[in-house]
């Protein structure tokens, strides 16, 4: 009887070993993966980005005029007229500034520009969307030439789909029409 129990125990043990080994190995892999994972970033708090964007939107709203704010709120970009007549820019968050001719709708260039904060621990993360738009707006309206000189210029279509820009220009025209008819 005791021999039978011993034999059964040995069989059970032999069957359990691969399973235990597999579990141990899986746990080791999991620990190694967790060790490789970078430390939780600045955005450990899930609401932080949302609050940052909320603050940035309020700041943007307080700087631009009513038309530009409404444009951003409704369409997601701001049109800024250039210092040269017949020349304008579309400012998108975290995308190149697109230059175009308002009369013809012809797309001219993409100006790739970013605002990296290289100080301290925040290097590597980026501005909230609305801060990026405001930085471009301030740099364009404050010193258009310097911004254009600083940016990398490309033909349309490198980063922003020209079809999307044309749709946005059409949406902008519709939006302006509906605003002016609402006023009259």
């Amino acid at each position: 009887m005791s021999l039978t129990v011993l034999a059964l125990s040995l069989v059970a043990l032999a069957l359990a070993v691969p399973t235990l080994a597999e579990r141990l190995s899986a746990a080791r892999r999991r620990r190694a993966k967790e060790a490789k994972r970078p430390e939780r970033s600045v955005f450990a708090d899930p609401g932080r980005e949302r609050r940052a964007e909320h603050r940035a939107r309020e700041l943007l709203r307080s700087c631009v005029n009513d038309e530009e704010w409404s444009m951003y709120r409704d369409l997601g970009f701001i049109r800024v007229r250039g210092s040269t007549p017949g020349y304008a820019y579309l400012i998108y968050p975290h995308k190149p500034v697109v230059a175009y001719m308002p009369e013809s709708g012809r797309l001219l260039n993409e100006y790739c520009v970013e605002f990296p904060d290289m100080t301290g621990a925040i290097a590597g993360s980026r501005l909230p969307d609305s801060d990026d738009v405001l930085a471009k707006w301030m740099a364009l309206t404050g010193d258009e030439r310097r911004l254009i000189r600083t940016a990398n210029m490309h033909l349309p279509g490198r980063q922003v789909d020209p079809g999307r820009v044309r749709r946005d220009l059409w949406r902008l025209a519709q939006w302006e029409r509906s605003r002016s008819s609402a006023r009259s």
């Binding site: 600045v42 955005f43 932080r48 980005e49 609050r51 940052a52 964007e53 909320h54 603050r55 940035a56 700041l59 307080s62 700087c63 631009v64 005029n65 009513d66 038309e67 530009e68 190149p96 790739c112 520009v113 970013e114 605002f115 990296p116 904060d117 290289m118 100080t119 925040i122 993360s125 980026r126 501005l127 909230p128 801060d131 405001l134 930085a135 707006w137 301030m138 740099a139 309206t141 404050g142 010193d143 310097r146 911004l147 600083t150 940016a151 990398n152």
Partner: protein, 82 residues
Amino acid sequence: MKFLRMRPGHGEVLLTEGDPDVREDEERLVEEFRRQLDEGMWAAVPTHAPGSGRRQAVMIHEYGEIPSGADRVIFFPRASGG
């Protein structure tokens, strides 16, 4: 007058504030202004374009260029080609 700075992942933060007509405040503002530019920030004051509803920014390169009556200066990271 307030000095605000855009912070990645945070939105703007208040760096300092003070009355430029009060000497102690002004010294603090000048010092902070220089520190921000040394850290590679650009500074701008949002304003109204004269004679229109248009708004624009004035880029500020040194403390003395801040328009009188400006209620805030916004510091933001220097642009670079993306």
